[in-house]
Amino acid sequence: MYLAANGRPDAPPRPPGAGRRVPAAVLALGAVSLVTDISSEMVTAVLPLYLVLGLGLTPLQFGFLDGMFNGATALVRLLGGRLADRRGHHKRVAGAGYLLSALSRLGLLLAGGATGGIAAALAADRLGKGIRTAPRDALISLSGPPESLGRSFGVHRAMDTTGALLGPLAAFAVLWATADAYDAVFAVSFCTGLLGVLLLVVYVPAAPGPTPGPAAAPPAGPRPPRRPVLRDPAFRRVLCAAALLGATTIGDAFLYLLLLRGLDLPPALFTLLPLGAAAVYLLLAVPAGRLADRAADPSGRRTGRRTAFLLGHCALLGAYALLLAPVSPPTVVGVLVLLGVFYAATDGVLMALAAPALPAAGRAGGLAVLQTGQALARLLGAAGFGAAWTLWGQRPALWAAALALAGALAAASRILPAAPPTAAPEAP
């Protein structure tokens, strides 16, 4: 439906300040993400099979190849953020990232069975993904009035997730139609990726949003001197809270595994469980974003995003609690719904929460720092939980995780600024 809204060529130009509609740039970016996610999830879904079955890599080698690039993404993200902030080239940097990922499919196609070529293609894909994320989120945040950022991110994440759900289906269809021709999956993924780049080039405005809304326009005139985002106290508090909560997030795979083990479900379901959570996320991303934008406390201060972010983590805590109780079939539904709520209320909302605290000129870099911080904290959390599981067994480890998350929630509710942070005065 968003694609349709985006594609109406004869729509009248939007009057200034039309707050009820999602900015066209956000819809365009959502469409780009949707198409790109179809492309990338197609490859993600078949790559392990291709490497191990098609090329005869041992699982050990595959794990090595896969793990090698995951760490690097975080650093590249920071680089992408910085590049975008310098002279405001958000669209160009994001576009380069999308293009690099699309071209990496061509690399997979041409590499044949050469492990070196495959490693290079995977590296290019991760590089592209790392580069584009922060500039894209900065573009979204700069494309609309700050009051509706939650909804903007909600719409974008919903479209993004739609692509992620469609990708494996598309890959499955191609494999089915060609009797396991993996190269056909790469070829289709390449074409889809190119379409994503083209949509970005054609429909996403180059300058961050011609937002005529009164609140969002960055001040005209000479660019103020950049100041490190980390020096901003409001942003620092958001970052601390996100990292703290991230470190007590044990990772979806563990939750799914606990479900499978608790019910002795067939392992084939392991691939289906994430789809359930993603579907809930997809349904709730927009409403959660809207609620987060709207809610205000009695004094009239708009604290909805903060509340939504904290409540989202409460949902995660609820999922832990469900798993601590005896596991029964309804538990599966409960955990998947809570996990979907968690993502809907935190993923885009965190960006909407933090973006206004960042000056427009440092936004991509700031969001990159935030995303990297959260990702590293989550990595730490997952590793810690894995270690606890190995040392103490699954129940004590889950208890520990639940207690840690409850503690982190209490701390975060104190750390997070009560009023929505606004960009600090741009001149010191």
Partner: protein, 328 residues
């Protein structure tokens, strides 16, 4: 934002969509009609009652027989990814197309007639038939069993044709490790080999980062670990020795060497093969073994043989083959 530019952009996008969709469709159709070996059944003339070395021919993926030195290769078996035969039956593992990966285990009699067909999750990995042909086992790689999503785990099944009873995963077998009952969620079994009594078997179990050789008892439904660091066992025809691959290096490109373990003395010795072997070796007779190695000159794999006592030099047995099984 004036109308012509909007229309132009729309035209551009529509053109691109048509071109890219056309390209995708074209590639898919091309891949669909490309020459690929279909999952073939065995020709009427092919059976596994003749003496000789049976193996998977890597060009085409069908099972073939090499009668002896100088004799022509007889082709025309079913297409399989893994194959083994002994006694009255043959076992053929095939990967079914599609995601998630599934494997079809096809049990055939000596005239290649289908006896039983079982579909299990995962990618074909090991196949073994007991000397009498009455008990069969296969292993597949499955994804997603582990909390590390990139890791693979294995699933080993045992099928008893005498009773028709199928154990889809032997993971629940009571296991004794180091003299104590072992309970952990991370146990993985693979590479079963059967003794002549159709009851005793050997296999690999991996748990807590180590692999062990286990001896199992089908009737008593129990297993105990014999020693560490022994994978993919293969019991000699006389039942006295086990050939296995031993991890000798942390280098992921060449981790294993072939060893033979004497079950009476529990002493092991390396074989003459200097390369890393990632295969469940097959005994040709009581003195020699066959196994697959990555092929030379662009072949997917070759079958080599070497003496079981560790002497001599490895010899190339079948260029372009894998899954060796000796009959007669």
């Amino acid at each position: 934002m004036n109308p012509p530019s909007r229309r132009l952009r729309l035209a551009l996008v529509v053109t691109a969509v048509l071109l890219l969709a056309g390209g995708s469709l074209g590639y898919v159709l091309h891949a669909r009609h490309r020459e690929r070996p279909p999952g073939q059944q065995a020709d009427a003339s092919f059976d596994v009652s003749e003496p000789g070395l049976y193996f998977r021919d890597t060009t085409g993926g069908r099972i073939a027989r090499q009668g002896g030195p100088g004799l022509p290769r007889v082709t025309g078996g079913p297409s399989c990814d893994r194959f083994h035969t002994a006694g009255d039956h043959a076992l053929c593992l095939r990967k079914l197309p599609g995601v998630p990966a599934r494997t079809e285990a096809l049990v055939l009699d000596r005239h290649m007639r289908e006896v039983r067909r079982v579909t299990v999750p995962g990618i074909p990995n090991r196949a073994r038939v007991s000397p009498s042909g009455q008990v069969l086992s296969w292993t597949t790689f499955t994804t997603g069993d582990s909390y590390n999503t990139a890791a693979f785990s294995t699933r080993t099944a045992i099928l008893d044709l005498r009773t028709g009873y199928l154990i889809k995963s032997i993971e629940q077998i009571p296991l004794t490790l180091g003299g104590a009952r072992h309970h952990d969620s991370d146990v993985n079994y693979w590479g079963v080999t059967f003794a002549a009594d159709d009851n005793r078997f050997y296999a690999t179990v991996s748990t807590r980062g180590a692999t062990h050789l286990v001896e199992g008892d089908l009737r008593a439904w129990s297993a105990k670990a014999l020693r560490e660091n022994a994978e993919c066992p293969s019991l000699s025809p006389d039942g006295t020795r086990v050939a296995f691959k031993k991890k000798v290096s942390d280098d992921p490109r060449a981790p294993w060497r072939l060893y033979v373990l004497d079950l009476a003395t529990m002493r092991e010795h390396p074989l003459a093969e200097p390369h890393s072997v990632d295969d469940q070796a097959a005994w040709l007779d009581d003195t020699a073994l066959a196994y697959a190695l990555p092929g030379e000159d662009g072949r997917a794999s070759d079958i080599w043989s070497t003496r079981a006592d560790g002497t001599g030099e490895p010899a190339l047995l079948v260029p372009g083959g894998s899954s060796p099984a000796r009959v007669g």
